[in-house]
């Protein structure tokens, strides 16, 4: 086990070279016990990689790190292991190893990656949460990057759906893990730190995955490479909101190269935040215009027909609901648009938020919190 970790942890050797080495020597222990002279003669490695291998051999820090694996319950999945996801094997440049807290998506589970802007709009957040929730309800794994904004909304949506599903089922084993995060830093590092609770929850009920060595801080160049794993693990990639130059578009590119389905959630042409997603559509990405159709595309059938929210509301509630939007509206605007008195409006808003139809997303600002589609 320890030799495996040493080899996986060795830095400066590319994933490709690691795979070649292993093919030649069969076991990591053999590579570890190579003498200096033998290493120098290895023709299949670049001079830089040979140096790195020797340096890794001399370095003893890895033993301490390997203790972390057991302590934090991190599993190491390498290229040759049978747990290694089939989906990744077909990549052009598959990661040599993955560090996993929690679990990897099972081979037979359908998975969808949801990616998008960090500073997303409330519309984007609601859309991501709803889509992720619907996917999770149908047993589809939701993969994302645990960043602020759309990523977090996707994870949260899936976790929420799983929790509500748990209520109706006797044992937790019957409900599949709903959501997985692929990080751009060591799997033991929670980035952004504000998502600590989300991170812990996903470790418990889903999986947190990274190819980056343990303890590595989030570095700029890890993220584009991380994106290829996100798309690689997924059967389809959905871009919810993206600006013109967005990391989400890199994920979409990776997905296209890997031959995955790419969906984009359309936005208004006036929104900067939807510019990237709309551009994807113009380039031929599939339009995610209805969750029902999307599920059908994925060959997952929607189980029950959704009731229209509006029909269950009373007169004033319907009035307020119809005025609400995914763009946050201030109470002042709502007062003007509905013509209700402050007291009555507050009462209706409270009732709507109890029903889950409205939400106060920021002090005195309200949005519609359900996407009907």
């Amino acid at each position: 086990m320890d030799y495996r970790f040493w080899f996986a942890n060795a830095q400066g050797i590319s994933d490709r070279e690691k795979r070649r080495l292993l093919q030649v020597f069969g076991r990591e222990k053999e590579i570890f016990s190579l003498t200096e002279a033998q290493t120098e003669k290895l023709k299949l490695l670049s001079p830089r990689a040979r140096e790195a291998l020797l340096a890794a051999r001399r370095d003893t820090g890895w033993q301490k790190k390997s203790g972390l694996l057991r302590e934090q319950g991190i599993s190491l999945v390498c290229w040759q292991d049978k747990e290694y996801p089939e989906r990744l094997k077909n990549l052009y440049d598959p990661p040599y190893c993955l560090y996993v807290r929690g679990r990897l998506p099972p081979q037979e589970q359908k998975t969808v990656a949801l990616v998008g802007a960090r500073s997303c709009s409330e519309y984007g957040r609601a859309a991501a949460e709803t889509i992720a929730g619907e996917l999770a309800l149908h047993g589809v794994g939701v993969i994302s990057g645990m960043a602020y904004g759309i990523d977090a909304a996707a994870h949260v949506g899936a976790l929420k759906a799983r929790q509500s599903a748990l209520k109706t089922v006797s044992s937790a084993c019957d409900v599949p893990a709903s959501t997985y995060a692929v990080l751009g830093c060591g799997v033991d590092v929670c980035y952004p730190a504000a998502h600590r609770r989300l991170y812990e929850q996903m470790v418990r009920t889903g999986g947190v995955i990274s190819e980056v060595p343990l303890g590595c801080p989030p570095l700029r160049h890890f993220f584009p490479r991380r994106n290829r794993i996100i798309s690689g693990l997924a059967d389809a990639v959905v871009v919810v909101e993206a600006r013109e130059k967005s990391g989400s578009l890199i994920t979409a590119d990776c997905a296209l190269e890997q031959g995955k389905l790419v969906y984009a959630v359309p936005g208004r042409i006036s929104d900067d935040l939807s510019c990237g997603a709309n551009w994807l559509l113009s380039q031929g990405a599939s339009v995610l215009y209805s969750i029902r159709e999307f599920l059908r595309d994925l060959k997952v059938e929607k189980q029950e027909p959704e009731k229209l929210i509006e029909n269950s509301l009373e007169k004033n509630e319907r009035l307020v609901y119809s005025v609400l939007d995914f763009i946050p509206k201030h109470l002042e605007t709502l007062l003007a648009d509905t013509g209700l008195a402050l007291e009555e409006l507050l009462k209706v808003l409270y009732r709507l938020s109890e029903l889950g139809c409205a939400k106060e997303i920021h002090q005195n600002y309200y949005i519609k919190s359900k996407v009907d589609s």
Partner: protein, 507 residues
Amino acid sequence: MYSVIATAAVHGIAGMIVKVETDVTNGLPEFEMVGILSSEVKEARARIRAAIHNTGFLLPPKKVTVNLGPADVRKSGTGFDLPIALSVLAAYGFLQSEACGETLFAGEIGLSGQLRPVRGILPMVLTARDHGYTHVVIPRENEAEALMVQGMQIHPAGTLSEVIDWLNGKRTLAPGPINIEETPREEACVDFARINGQRVLRRACEVAASGMHNLLMVGPPGTGKTMVARALPGILPRLTEEERMELARIYSVSGRFEERKEHLYERPFRCPHYSVTATALVGGGRVAQPGEISLAHRGILFLDELTEYQKPVLEQLRQPLEERVVRLVRVSGVYIYPADCMLVGAMNPCGCGYYPDRSRCTCSPGDIRRHLRKVSRPLLDRMDMSVEVPRVKIGELTGEGRNESSEVIRARVEGAVRRQEQRYQGERFRYNSRIPADRIEAYCPMDSGARRLIEAAYEQLNLSARAYHRLIRVARTIADLAKSGEILEAHMREALLYRTMDEAVWR
């Protein structure tokens, strides 16, 4: 010969009687002054000598000793010139010092013998009255200030020779026609009738004014936050006689009585620019002076662009906001200034001002958090109410309003204040915002709906105990405005609207 003249020193906003004693004997010519004097008092020596000479007296060279007692208190300020000069003259025998027995003197003297105004005349006159003096002689410029005190004979004088003539019975010193306005002037502040739209903000102001709750306004620039703040004094309850006197004292001590004179019936409105220093804000300085927070006593301290103030400066507000007084400790003693004001703050929600409209706001979540963190959590904890101010639609901005005027709003506010006064008879506080935590249960009964709401909010919003109490206090005020003895569900729902900014931001 020996003489004694009474005058007064100012300590904090209170006055204190000081006796100026002079002894003139033969010996080496000398002019000595004792009694822990600050440099401006010591310099009186030169001014007095010249002033006496220019008034037409010739002082033969003798040994002159002046003592300002009590000798263990540091004396500062220029008001001692006049009593010292009179005391010296009396000691030389030019005056009958007995004639000064029931009179208190204060004033600065110029070299020509002309009297100049001094700070703190009002507390001095009040102290004189409390100590049984019946007459006060003061510089003419301080007349209006001194006349605020009832039951005292005020004698304003222009020069030293006028005072001497008065003492010798050669002339009278009578105050001029009273020029303090007896009728309230309202034009000074903005009327609410001129503010269009912003119904939520208007209502928040009404609630804040009724319970003297601190108010934070968050919104993009140009939405009328400043204008509304300026309109606030107009809906606060009118000043009582006692409050008016208290305020006049503070302004007198800080030498700002002139600017206050015009607005004696209005509550003060202070808006220090954000470059203000800690000393200017809470008071202090080598010679202790009241700061902006004391000048805003019984009125409004408005901090515009709250995020731009230096953090250490804002932190200074924490203790005065809690204790309602500023306690300055100096080598020369402890100075206490009242500071019972309503704090009103205004700030932008983020650097670009558009948040939470994410389609227009270009700030990252980190930027927004950094922006909001410029105001410390403990200070925010002292803001009782917070309200988001949206951009007004152009139609609302220009539409000729059927807006309520300040007068109508003030009538409701005063009604609510009366209810509070009745309820808190015999207590040390008068407003809902000042109910101590342990009395909340007793004074804020809630119906079951309100209790359910606040308990749910406590869970969902992750409120601190302090925030929880704050909400109940605000709900109490809303109930008072609705003339309800009990806090009902609707009152609590409205109070929740004004809860202080999302706690999540500071997590």
